[in-house]
Amino acid sequence: MKNGNQLKRREPLTDTQLLLTITICIFVAMYALAMIFLGGGFLRFQQVFDMLNNNAALIIVACGLTIVMIGGGIDISVGGVTALVVMSCIVHMNNGGSIFTAALMAIGIGLCFGLAHGFLISYLEIQPFIITLAGMFFARGMTTIVSLEPQKIAHEGFKTLMKTKIEIPWLGYIAKKGNLIPARMEIGVVIALVIVAIVFVMLKKTRLGRNFYAIGGNSQSALMLGVNVKRTRFYSYLISGLLSGIAGFVFMMHTGAGNATNAAGAEMNAIASSIIGGTLLTGGVGNVIGTFFGVLTLTTIKAIVPASGLTKPWWQSITTGGMLCFFIVLQSVVLSQRAKKKAKAKEAAKG
């Protein structure tokens, strides 16, 4: 506000950009505070990498969900689909399947769910919440059918893949003994980052990407403007399904074990991340970079809480809930202030 004159020639931020800026600022501020007051692990770059290593799958799932939410929908089946993929792939590989066929399987399962959701929601016009809720139950049920017992990966090739880490020496730190411990990043993180980049470009630069925003902003208008609303909506669920499948594979690369309760609550964490990242549940506004920072913010909160002495498990949920509420209130206050300012400017122009 202070340097309004300086910025006069620049366009005011769009709602999407504004919410993204808020998210990044809050993340940076929170992380900086953690570094100052808590120190310890937060001072090492490995902390960020660990956060990414542990949440690569969540980032991928949240990317898909962001697309669906920008298009004005919701997909709560993502966690279930991820779990089903994990279990299926492990059983497949333990019974002599190759890594390649397992990857195809992951993508295939994801696409099947995306296809079914997309078709039912777009072309039969059924409520997305109900359909994906059904999808979630279905996927969870299937997971138990595939294997009731928890499974551990026995495939040697895959175990090597799991252990493969990218080492970046210059981001490492000197341990007490004086030897350098490089920062380590798992392959899954690379996949997640590539997906974030692809989705970012897709939303920004392609016609399909802009169409997602159009149908989420006002689907009736989008139709009048010549956008194929049904097909666009169909694609959003298809992509979300595909990304859930990939997320399942990445999840497996991190844990190496399958359990019927894998990725429990992933859909809720993904929704929370998207919202923190500035995606509106009402559709039409959002950004995948914001979602990326949303995941980091959520994880940072979860790391800060025990580090600051609140070690009881419920504090994490309570803090997360509080933060989510804070973000939503902040978003709606900022957006309504904008609308008010606009109305005032109009009044002034009239008078």
Binding site: E11, T14, T16, G209
Partner: protein, 500 residues
Amino acid sequence: MQNEVVLSMRGIDKVFPGVKALQNVDFTLRKGEIHALMGENGAGKSTLIKVLTGVYTKDAGTITIEDTEVAIRSPQDAQKAGISTVYQEITLCPNLTVAENMFIGRGNYVTVNWKDMERKATEILDNLGIPARAKQQLGSCSLAVQQMVAIARAVDMECKVLILDEPTSSLDDKEVAMLFGLMRDLKQRGVGIIFVTHFLEQVYEVSDRITVLRNGELVGEYEIENLPQVELVAKMMGKELEELSDLVRDDSEKEDTSEPVYQAQALSSAACTNPFDFAIRKGEVNGFTGLLGSGRSESVRAIFAADRVTGGNVTVDGKNVKIQKPIQAMKQGIGYLPEDRKDDGIIADLSVRDNIILALQVMKGFFRPFSQAEAEAFADEYIKALEIKTASSETPIKSLSGGNQQKVILARWLLTHPKYLILDEPTRGIDVGTKTEIQRLVRKLAEEGMSVTFISSEIEEMLRTCSRLIVMRDRHIVGELRGQELTQSNVMRTIAGGVD
């Protein structure tokens, strides 16, 4: 340039089950002219526009664009034929930028070349003098500018025919002037513009020709200079000025100096932005009249606080009161029967009885329910009094005819014993017999001391029922007629603004 015909519609018929919406209608649009399409509610204006834009398919007739006959089966066909439409509600996406709104859904590109798109958009906006920037979020523009962006999109699609459907209904004067500037500019460029509006003065400000429709039939096409406003109003309403025999009313004017039951000063609401003064006395039936869109419904809605009240002083029985919400109006003894029965009035799946006791229940509070017997007694009393034709009081209201539904809503309000009852189009869409019944009922209620405001699109009905008429035009009160002044020709003259 003005003689080259760009669009010609001949012998257009459109039949809906039970209704002939259009009957042998001709319409001709020339290059570089602004052609106003006028008609009252149900005249067939919007049906004709929808036939032209491919929303409906015509049952008979031909549409020719620049000497080639075209078949228009979908909005896409219309766009291809060079017909673009800008609707009353802005059909753009507020969350996208101006440039995106201009180019989305067009062409076969896969990736978006932002720089190119923004450059092109800027060019078009500059060219047309539209005060918007390509990278601006559309939602941050005023409504008028949004409308102009929609027009810019249409122009860039090289339209030959531009349809503007009620473009000015949500704009203020300055914005209207801006829009008219753009329309004149487009006219110079040879675009044929069809202008649909309710605002008479705006028609005379920009149009070259007027085509009038009534009851789905063509009344005629006129050069603007050959058709004074009074005649236009007469043609829209279907009455020739000369043949209007001024029926003499026998109720002589009583000079009434009693305290008004309801009085408002400088009342305004979110929907009715021009503040107005209004008062009604005990036992009086008055009416708001004017063409559709003149603000008559908005005014009575402001009285009942059905829209957000933004200012004004209200006194009821001489006492200053605050009416900000419908429940406050109800507590002051004001009842309001809304214009749109389906949306605002009935609750379709509830029984006749529940619909009748609804308003009284609300006033009493939900935690003090009526006993079954009480509710039954109320319902039966009014079903009998108003002669509502229903199988029983348990029947769901949606299975009743329109007229009987209307009576149920009327009963709902009568049950609360209001001092002042507002009836907005109570007789629309119901048969003649029930209409006269309702008119008689209104007179009877007034004789019993209730004050009533009555609104109807039919002037005869208003003249029969009301003892005072408030005439509105373009959202302003332009006159008040009472006693001997209450004649059709007087009303029309006042509506048209030709009072002498």
